[in-house]
Amino acid sequence: MMKTVSQRIVGMNGDEAVAFAAKQAEVDVVAAYPITPQTIIVERFSDYVANGEVDTQFVCVESEHSALSACVGSSLIGSRVFTATSSQGLALMHEVLYLASGLRTPIVMAVANRALSAPINIHNDHSDMMGSRDCGWIQIYAENAQEAYDWTLQAFRIAEDHKVSLPVTVNLDGFTISHAMEGVAVLEDDQVSKFLGTRNPMYKLDAANPMTFGALALPDYYSEFKRQQVEAMNNTPPVVTAVADEFRKISARQYSAVSTFSVDDAEAAVICLGSIAGTARAVATRLRQQGKRVGVIKIWQYRPFPTSEVAELLSNVKSVGVIDRAVSFGAPYGALCSDIASTKVLTGIETKMFNVICGLGGRDVKPTDIEGVFERALRHARGEPIGDTVSFVGVRT
């Protein structure tokens, strides 16, 4: 039983909720560049700065590349740093993403997920973040504005923990979450201040204690740097758990690496990221009423990938439909499905699996689409043929 905590409910869209969280986190520096559908985040934050509601240096840079570069500079001084981007902006940041993780700067960045050009498209899918999924950042996917708010707050604690010291992206589906107004339960400023504290950097650029950052590491040392980044990733899950526990105490909302819905006795399940999970739960609820044993697994913490948790959840599921909202051109599966395939190989679970690609460029993923995935998974579970193991849903043939 969770303790009831009375909280203010504020009408906010996902972008506003993220901006509000960054304000409550009392970030020292924000460096950002506008891109749809992230713009509301930087606009609202600009309002806070302009009205003196937050004591933050807001650096309105000339590109996303410079946005994240400025964030790295600020983070190395020891500041708490936030930024936000989307789509082409994240792609333009690509090399800086590796820099931020390699220099171990605990930057928090919201990504309002959007398709990549060409053709140009401003709507949601996960191509942007999936294109950078191996960049060494912790990657969280939110399902709605509430989760975007909650995870943004928790992200600072996770990133700034000395056992981790890695940057974090909080992903929220473009428009579906970023622009959709919801009631968001918010904490009081002082609760957040107490929860987050101030950043205490392990190392920093400091005139009183000169250090060299970003040295050239040749073949004799480079591997060890990378190995340490892997260790930091490996250190992350227990930190996420501890932070989530503390967050639950003040918010009565429980987070972890994965979220499940009626998976315990499920024969068939769907695994997904982000806002599709809401549709999937609604469909699963209806199918359950018809006596169909289906469940939903939503991955919150996509990187580091929660391999053992997913394996345990799937161990009694006979078939799982894995939903990818991005294409990995030329690869056997979409990105999420590749991770599930790896999970199967690593853990030996025998759950059958198939991959569904849908919702590209903001294409609506309808309840009937998801129902189709469940029905296929149920047939799969019964040993009936399901056709291609990788297929598009909701796409003209």
């Binding site: 020292d28 410079s66 790295v72 190395l76 500041s79 060299t212």
Partner: protein, 311 residues
């Protein structure tokens, strides 16, 4: 002007770095550290200076120093400055960004433009050796007309680079920076004075310093300072500063040395002395002359007399 005795004996850069013998940029770095009077934080773009001064686990820097990428040095400096401003420490530290000509004229120009426009309080020093030396002497926007590089080789038909050098200081002045200046490693007291002026400015300041590269220019390693001086004495590289948009010549050249004396010791210009490329040598001479006239005019100097062509 400072005197040698007034300079600190302390070496905050090196010794122990692995720059080449006769490296102009290394001399620039050393002089910069002697010029700065406040504690400094350095941001270094990818390039020779970065690569050869911080090979892990060694570092040649006794000040806080960071290298991130090639094109984002001014942006990183922006972030550092924003943080220091937030901490109330902006006035206690000199933030200095080093970029080579490739990292400044070409790939880093956007980030530099943004940082200048936003008026971050930092000093940007472009050490210009007129090509991408770290990657093996490829042409940059700072490479002069006619120079041979590995991507503008002196071919039998095309004799080196066929485009002129960019006007970096003009670009910076167009942003309304309070202070911008050119310098040469040969004129150490002029350089140090300019670094101090730049650092004292509240806001961005830019110094464009000519720093010859023996390897890329193909001259004797003992001749670096001599070449850097000849560049000025032949009018090839005018020394001037721009304060609040007002140009001022730092060094008059009443008796210019013929341009050939600067060009001839350098392998990168050798092909221009072949008879078939005489017109290209002439084109380079015209560009040098025209740039000198433009700058001196901006500086309010009396119009120079065109010396007789020494063909």
């Amino acid at each position: 002007m400072v005197t040698l005795k007034e300079l600190p004996t302390q070496e905050l850069f090196g010794p122990g770095h692995r720059m080449c013998t006769g490296c102009g940029p290394a001399a620039t770095a050393r002089m910069t550290m002697k010029a700065l009077e406040k504690p400094a934080i350095l941001v270094n773009a990818t390039g020779c200076l970065e690569v050869a001064s911080t090979i892990y686990p060694d570092t040649a820097w006794k000040v806080p120093w960071v290298h991130t990428l090639f094109e984002n040095t001014a942006a990183v400096a922006s972030g550092i400055e924003a943080s220091l401003r937030k901490q109330g420490k902006a006035d206690t530290v000199d933030i200095v960004a080093f970029g080579g000509d490739g990292g400044t004229f070409d790939i880093g120009i956007q980030a530099l433009s943004g940082a200048l426009e936003r008026k971050h309080d930092f000093t940007y020093i472009c050490y210009d050796n007129e090509a991408y030396m770290n990657t093996g002497i490829q042409r940059s926007g700072a490479t002069p007309y006619g120079a041979a590089t590995t991507t503008t080789p002196a071919g039998s038909k095309i004799p080196g680079k066929m485009d002129p050098k960019k006007d970096l200081i003009g670009i910076c002045v167009a942003h309304g920076v309070e202070y911008a200046a050119t310098a040469s490693v040969a004129y150490w007291n002029d350089y140090i004075t300019k670094v101090r002026r730049a650092a004292a400015v509240k806001g961005p300041a830019v110094i464009h310093v000519l720093a010859p590269c023996p390897l890329g220019w193909r001259f004797e390693t003992s001749e670096t300072i001599k070449l850097a001086k000849l560049a000025v004495q032949t009018k090839y590289f005018p020394l001037y500063e721009v304060e609040h948009g007002k140009y001022k010549l730092s060094l008059k050249v009443p008796k210019p040395v013929p341009l050939e004396e600067f060009l001839k010791p350098q392998g990168r210009f050798r092909h221009l002395f072949a008879p078939e490329f005489a017109k290209d040598l002439e084109e380079l001479r015209k560009q040098v002359e025209s740039n000198w006239n433009r700058i001196t005019q901006l500086c309010g100097e009396p119009a120079a007399q065109t010396p007789p062509s020494s063909s």
